[in-house]
């Protein structure tokens, strides 16, 4: 099936998938926190658009609620909170030196290929589009993890965490046209609580080690030295 033969909705969804994947890569190579947060908000916005698009074309009203929730949480509330934290900690001028940026980027690309490999059996039961949607969301998740591994700032970790959530959300919207409403509300509630908890944690980490660099959290070991 060639792309020209798909309907406009599917084409748009595929483009969105590609863009969401792109934002993940952008986040991966980003050393400045404010830009990282901005790109994260962009990803949230793309998700909102995708959800609204799905809601419109499938005529599914509860997806509108999801879209509004995403907009409120992932585009406005969480980026705003993180941004405030960065400004408060006076970290907006710092550039985090990333080790092996090229290696991380290449690792990201291979993770993307890996997600296609893992999910390939999906093709047999449904369309290529589903494979793409699921694979892109899985790679967004994996890239989010890679982001957490490669960055040292707690804020970058939160962004990675939330972008993993974004990947999941994308999968839920595109592959299954949204989970049942009660589940989606539950997930949104969890995300909200997690965001609040992260805020509390920033405060705690700051008061305990006077920095948000999680490399300094290194007191506990698997075996005592």
């Amino acid at each position: 099936m060639n792309i020209e033969q798909l309907d406009f909705y599917t084409q748009a969804i595929l483009s969105m998938a590609a863009l969401v994947g792109l934002t993940s890569f952008l986040m991966l190579g980003q050393g400045r926190l404010l830009r990282l947060i901005f790109v994260f908000a962009m990803q949230g916005f793309l998700l909102t658009l995708t959800t609204a698009l799905a809601a419109y074309s499938l005529n599914n009203h509860h997806l509108y609620i999801s879209a509004v929730l995403t907009l409120a949480l992932k585009v406005i509330l969480i980026p705003w909170m993180l941004r405030r934290e960065v400004l408060k900690m006076n970290m907006h001028r710092d550039i985090e030196a990333l080790n092996n940026k090229t290696a991380v980027m290449m690792g990201g690309a291979s993770l993307m290929v890996f997600s296609y490999y893992v999910l390939h059996p999906v093709v047999q039961s449904s369309s290529v589009v589903m494979l793409n949607a699921l694979a892109v969301s899985l790679s967004v998740m994996l890239l989010g993890m890679l982001l957490m591994i490669s960055h040292r700032q707690a804020i970058a970790h939160v962004v990675g965490f939330m972008s993993i959530e974004n990947g999941l959300f994308f999968a839920a919207i595109v592959a299954t046209n949204g989970m049942p409403m009660v589940v989606e509300l539950g997930v949104a509630f969890d995300v909200l609580v997690a965001a609040v908890l992260f805020g509390i944690f920033f405060l705690h980490i700051r008061t305990s080690i006077d920095s948000l660099d999680v490399d300094l959290l290194n007191k506990l070991h698997e075996v005592d030295k």
Partner: protein, 314 residues
């Protein structure tokens, strides 16, 4: 007849290039709250330079004297490959996009040689930087272009553009990536901010200007013209590949006229974007250019991947 139009198109290319440069400069001045020079100023500059007597160093070899002519003609030849106002012209049908990249490489080779020839510190420095950057930019560019050519199943620009044109509006994820990659590469190759600053030759970080520091008179005019032509070439490439609508598919006067208007409009808009970007973005450190270009490469690669994975027939 066709050949006549082809020659006409190339002439238009060469003739309009300074105008585009003037327009970009004009937009930039307005954006920076300066009084803008006339958009025809580049023509006057070129004219002025051709009147002047070129000064050539005693150490200069034939390479230094011949290089401007070679560079200019190679760039003009590259311009014949790219469809400006009409597709299916004999010149562009006979050569494909790889030839175009080859012409660019040829011109760059002589430019770098000329920079080295005199033996000044600046020239050598500029040449080495130019080669470094182009060695990184070329793979990214080819990756972006291959994404396109794979979609159209041809490396010929003219046919590829017709293909995109005939297909109608299709949202292709791969094109988004390829466009972004090509824009980044174009900025690097034409020596614009943030990679190089075309407005100054007093910085230690200059690249293009460092190589041509020793040129004067008509030699300088030719090199300047060639680089203006290159800017326009990239602009046309981006505009016509990704937004080919308006380009003439037949050779009637009306179609060609519309084609000319369309491409001028597209280029004018692109130039405004370029000016805005140059005003907003600061020039980056030389050592970060490789990060910038590897990002472009990554985009090109993603474009290619998403073409293969998302769009290819199964």
């Amino acid at each position: 007849m066709n050949w006549l139009i082809a020659v006409l198109q190339t002439t238009l290319f060469v003739a309009l290039a300074p105008l585009l440069a003037g327009w970009v400069k004009c937009c930039k001045c307005r954006l920076q709250n300066r009084k803008a020079p006339s958009i025809f100023q580049p023509y006057r500059d070129l004219l002025k330079l051709t009147y002047k007597q070129p000064v050539v160093s005693e150490q200069a070899s034939w390479v230094f004297i011949k290089a401007p002519y070679i560079i200019f003609s190679a760039t003009v030849l590259a311009a014949t490959v790219v469809p400006l106002i009409a597709v299916d012209l004999p010149t562009s049908a006979s050569a494909d996009v790889i030839v175009m990249v080859g012409f660019f490489a040829f011109a760059r080779f002589f430019l770098a040689l000329a920079g080295l020839d005199i033996g000044t510190a600046f020239g050598g420095m500029g040449s080495s930087r130019e080669m470094t950057i182009s060695s990184l930019a070329e793979p990214a560019m080819l990756m972006a272009i291959f994404t396109l050519t794979m979609t159209a199943s041809t490396t010929n620009l003219s046919f590829a553009i017709s293909h995109v044109l005939n297909e109608g509006l299709v949202l292709r994820p791969s094109f988004v990536f390829a466009l972004a990659a090509l824009v980044l590469v174009a900025i690097a190759e034409t020596g614009r901010i943030p990679v190089d600053n075309p407005a100054t030759h007093l910085e230690l970080t200059m690249i293009h200007e460092a190589m041509i520091l020793e040129y004067s008179g008509r030699h300088l005019a030719l090199i300047e013209w060639a680089s203006q032509l290159k800017l326009m070439l990239y602009g046309v490439l981006i505009a016509n590949i990704f937004l080919p609508w308006g380009i003439a598919e037949s050779f009637g006067v009306q179609a060609l006229g519309y084609g000319l208007l369309a491409i001028m409009g597209k280029l004018a808009v692109l130039a405004v974007f370029l000016a805005i970007a140059e005003t907003l973005v600061a020039k980056m450190r030389l050592f970060r250019v490789q990060e910038y270009l590897s990002f472009a490469y990554l985009l090109g690669l993603l474009g290619m991947l998403s073409h293969i994975i998302l769009e290819a027939a199964r």
